[in-house]
């Protein structure tokens, strides 16, 4: 499905999610969220130039969607905390939708209504500064107060390529060409990024669903073995 959308159209991740859900004429629910999760991730993938501060907001929701989708695929992976966070996301979206409707109403009112209260158009009051009150020490003190707040530099390095699910899928495919059987730990290698591990896992689930691989795990928390289907 071609989304034909760009970041500029959206106020943020909630706006994007709502739009995706509404496009499919769905209600806001866990099911609809897991249905649009792929499109959401694809959107982030395709918009390489999301400014860093916005990217963080989009990623925060993305990680929730990934977990939600994982659980939809594997319903027995149940966790109360996660379920609560899913419920929260749904409430957040419902509220957000309500605010959007209210915003539309306010916008209409501002544009069309005839009721405006006007201020008195008096000449603004002006006082000349007392010349003796302006001194160099006062200026320096004021400058120190106003001009020294430094802006913290943003850590732009970390989150650059984490989000490429397609890339992960390709990587696993390449892996499968060389080996018919390998361990999940081999796949994630030395990465310590939780999101990357989740993405790898999600990519695996996708491949499993598509019948490309077969996944097995002997016990909980044991190593996961991935096998090419048919071996």
């Amino acid at each position: 499905m071609n989304l034909q959308i760009s970041l500029q159209q959206f106020q943020g991740p909630l706006d994007l999610l709502l739009t995706l859900i509404q496009k499919q004429e769905l209600d806001i629910s866990k099911i609809s969220l897991s249905q649009v999760a792929d499109q959401y991730l694809k959107f982030i993938n395709e918009n390489k130039h999301i400014p860093f501060n916005k990217l963080l907001d989009f990623l925060a929701i993305a990680s929730q969607l990934i977990i939600l989708k994982t659980r939809a695929l594997l319903p027995y992976l149940s966790d109360d905390a996660e379920e609560e966070s899913e419920d929260n996301l749904i409430i957040k979206l419902q509220n957000y939708q309500l605010y959007l409707n209210l915003a539309k109403k306010l916008q209409n009112r501002l544009e069309n209504q005839q009721s405006i209260s006007f201020s008195r158009l008096s000449k603004s009051i002006n006082f000349r500064l007392d010349e003796s009150s302006i001194t160099l020490p006062l200026l320096q003190k004021t400058a120190a107060r106003l001009l020294t707040q430094k802006v913290k530099p943003m850590p732009i390095t970390a989150l650059k390529k984490i989000f490429n699910i397609q890339e992960k899928l390709k990587q696993i495919n390449d892996y499968l060409k060389q080996k018919e059987k390998f361990l999940f730990s081999e796949l994630v290698g030395r990465t310590s990024s939780k999101i990357e591990i989740i993405i790898s896992f999600l990519a695996l689930l996708e491949l499993s669903k598509a019948g490309v691989v077969f996944i097995s795990q002997k016990e909980m928390f044991e190593e996961i073995t991935i096998m090419k289907h048919g071996t």
Partner: protein, 171 residues
């Protein structure tokens, strides 16, 4: 309060609001009249009611412990012509943030971000520069709420007028 005193206070507050031509804080009114802030607020509420009942040509818009005397919204059409008023458009993002603040405010930046799901530092700064919101210090925190200027654009006298309609809908 004695009737005589009340009339005197009302007259002074009226003069102050009239002369200011912009919002004045309850605190400032209280200081000038040597009454307490609560009394200043009550006086203003009372005057708001009176102006409405008497269908006067002016009203008082109040918010964030501030009040401004304005023209009556029902006369806007005549006044727009007289003042050559042109509506200025507000961007979608700004409207969205203003809506959340108007219905749910005052909110901290973090609370607003939780609802909107995006970082709001830039938009809050810009709304502040536009005079469309006020930042109110509460302890260490700053809470944001729509300004008197925004209410004037809607022709309403207080946020309560908006909030009473929809509060039950928002969880």
């Amino acid at each position: 309060m004695e009737h005589e005193t009340w009339n005197k206070i009302k007259s002074i507050v009226e003069s102050l609001l009239f002369a200011a031509g912009k919002p004045i804080s309850y605190n400032q009114i209280a200081k000038i009249l040597k009454i307490d802030q609560k009394e200043a607020e009550q006086t203003i509420r009372q005057m708001q009611k009176e102006y409405q009942e008497q269908k006067r040509g002016f009203r008082i818009v109040s918010n964030n412990y501030q009040a401004e005397m304005t023209s009556a919204p029902e006369n806007a059409e005549m006044l727009s012509q007289f003042l050559n008023y042109e509506k200025s458009a507000i961007s979608q993002a700004k409207i969205e943030a203003l809506t959340v603040l108007a219905y749910k405010g005052p909110l901290t930046q973090a609370e607003l971000e939780e609802i909107r799901g995006v970082n709001c530092s830039v938009i809050l700064r810009n709304l502040k520069i536009d005079d469309l919101i006020d930042g109110i210090k509460q302890g260490d925190m700053i809470k944001y709420q729509v300004s008197v200027k925004f209410l004037k654009m809607l022709g309403i006298e207080s946020v309560e007028e908006l909030q009473s309609n929809v509060n039950c809908l928002l969880s």
